[in-house]
């Protein structure tokens, strides 16, 4: 197992309580920041760390912080994006549920750096029981003097609240999240202005993912330069990977950036290999939105180099033969998986979750779902396959927010790498009648 910067103490009994968390060295970053550093020095450390947004986009966190309008006379806000909804992603829930004080600590240190006096954690409504765990942790932090007025005897004051969403994937998009936090429908805003200038209540706002904010804790404790020594190149630090699908050991794993994908899938320290003694067919490496890759391309790049768990290595080959690290939602499929049916569930997801604001997405996601439904159920035509590619192309890049792209990429990549499987569904409709058609065929052939 590599270095653990976030989950090192996750197995300590009682780590969800303030007392145990503190005993294990918790809240040291708050003490260090508030007592020995200026807010700008904290931001500087985050810049030096090379930390990139862990929600999916991978934008440098320190740069995002530096965009915050510090000259405005309006209050500044830090909002934590805990609206984890990207299919295949469950790392933030794990972190908040098991070690809630890590997020609370990260929120305090980060709010100090940004000059926020009120901060919110926007958590998806389905995580209602996690919200209660966080609220308990926050109450404990208030009682211990780490939240509220004059924290640790300094001038710094901060109030922290948890706010539930109510079942809308789109609210993971930062401007939709802010709309939702203002009590409105989750329709993404046109940018600019960016939230750093006009975010929550039109005030300067930073929105960061749970894992990003948690990573500020080791960055401040170790120093940004030390943090940057972990990992490879521009992929610094550790990453939480949510591993799901046809593997022996699904779960959340903290990996050092740079771990070979092959080791991650087959090592007993991580996924423990493919279940039921089957072979690997495909992987969606960074949540449902990123391009799917067949086994040979997820293990090795098109150039034949081992694929690593980094932003750069997973993207090697662009969208022709590569993918993205995304949110770290690592979905593994064995040889019996029907790529068309899996894709149909994703298309249904995006259709359901489109906010309806932009017509290419509102209409296009519905068309893709319908066409995939008929191909999967043996009613498709050969021309439907190119029709899907055409619809995906016309959504991509033509919407206010990235949900349109997120819906288009899985379709385009599945057809790019598994076109023969789509053709098979059209040619042999009677062979795909059973929803488990490929599993059935494997069992018959054995």
């Amino acid at each position: 197992m590599g270095r653990q910067l976030l989950l090192e103490h996750i197995a300590v009994p009682g780590i969800e309580t303030f007392e145990v968390y503190r005993k294990m060295g918790g809240y040291a970053s708050v003490e260090k920041a508030l007592k020995t550093m200026t807010p700008d020095q904290v931001t500087e450390q985050v810049k030096n760390s090379g930390l990139r947004g862990r929600g999916g986009a991978g934008f440098p966190a320190g740069m995002k912080w530096s965009f915050l309008d510090r000259k405005s006379d309006k209050p500044r806000y830090l909002v934590c994006n805990a609206d984890e909804s990207e299919p295949g992603t469950f790392k933030d829930r794990y972190l908040m549920e098991k070690i809630p004080h890590l997020l609370v600590e990260g929120m305090i240190t980060s709010s100090y750096a940004l000059g926020a006096k009120t901060s919110y954690i926007y958590i998806r409504g389905e995580y209602m029981y996690v919200l209660q765990i966080l609220e308990k942790a926050i109450r404990e932090a208030y009682a211990a003097g780490f939240l509220g007025k004059n924290i640790l005897g300094t001038d710094y004051c901060l109030d922290l609240y948890v706010h539930p969403g109510a079942g809308a994937y789109i609210c993971g998009e930062e401007t939709a999240l802010l709309e939702s936090l203002e009590g409105k429908r989750g329709n993404p805003r046109l940018k600019p202005p960016f939230p750093a200038i006009a975010g929550l209540y039109a005030s300067p706002t930073v929105v960061n993912n749970v894992e990003t904010i948690a990573a500020v804790v080791p960055i401040v404790n170790l120093g940004g330069d030390e943090y940057a020594k972990v990992g490879v190149g521009k992929s610094t630090g550790t990453k939480l990977i949510s591993a799901s699908g046809h593997i022996n050991k699904p779960g959340v794993y903290e990996i050092e950036m740079g771990l070979p994908v092959e080791e991650f899938i087959y090592s007993d320290q991580y996924c423990g290999g493919i279940w039921k003694g089957r072979k690997l067919k495909a992987v969606v490496a960074g949540g449902s939105s990123v391009p799917i890759l067949p086994a040979e391309l997820i293990l090795k790049t098109a150039k034949g180099e081992p694929r690593l768990m980094t932003y750069e290595s997973l993207a090697e080959g662009g969208f022709i033969s590569g993918t993205m690290l995304g949110s770290g939602g690592f979905i593994v499929m064995d040889e019996t998986t029907c790529i068309v049916r899996n894709l149909w569930t994703f298309a249904r997801f995006y259709h359901h979750e489109s906010c309806g604001q932009c017509s290419p997405c509102r209409e296009g996601t519905g068309w893709m779902e319908k066409v995939l439904h008929r191909i999967e159920h043996g009613h498709g035509q050969m021309s439907d396959i190119d029709l899907l590619v055409d619809v995906a192309k016309k959504i991509e890049g033509n919407t206010i927010c990235p949900l349109g792209d997120a819906a288009a990429w899985p379709v385009a990549s599945a057809i790019r790498h598994f076109r023969e499987e789509f053709e098979y569904h059209v040619k042999y409709p009677e062979k795909v009648k059973n929803p488990k058609h490929f599993e059935e065929q494997l069992l018959v052939n054995r």
């Binding site: 299919p87 389905e126 994937y169 799901s244 046809h246 959340v252």
Partner: protein
Amino acid sequence: MATEKETIQFSDSALSKAKEIIGRYPEGKQKSALLPLLHLAQSEFDGWLSPAVMDYVASLLQIKPIEVYEVATFYTMFNLEPVGNHLLEVCRTGPCWLRGAEDIVKRIEQKLNIKVGETTADGKFTLKTVECLGSCGTAPMLQCGATFFENLSEESVEMLIEKLAKQKRSSYLRPTEINVG
């Protein structure tokens, strides 16, 4: 329905909770409390939001009823029609599908003799399918009120239904203590 409206009123504890929630947001930004208050209202009033309940929430926040309706219809967690005592929401997205979510749905349909979207005649159960609940590593799974039931098998989901049938309405705010292994 003026007479019905008069009967819509939070309990004292819910009302003080609502006031506490409203206080989390800056002066004049009380509309921010809308989603938390709708969760609270749904929990208080039998698991769904009637127009009268939504009007009541609007009055608490001093906003127009339309501002509540447009929000309540946007978010899937708000039920705009009555639901059974136990709303079974089975995740059907990719990762859960890979681990057998379709078999779970089928087994529940057989057990309860209803289809997805329907409520049993005795009003105890409603079955829905939902999109990814962030529980992909413990798939297949379903949510009932505030509780996640994970690593389900066809057998364990039957057992869950039998246990839930003996209980009162599932809470939307507090997880229940039912273990189905």
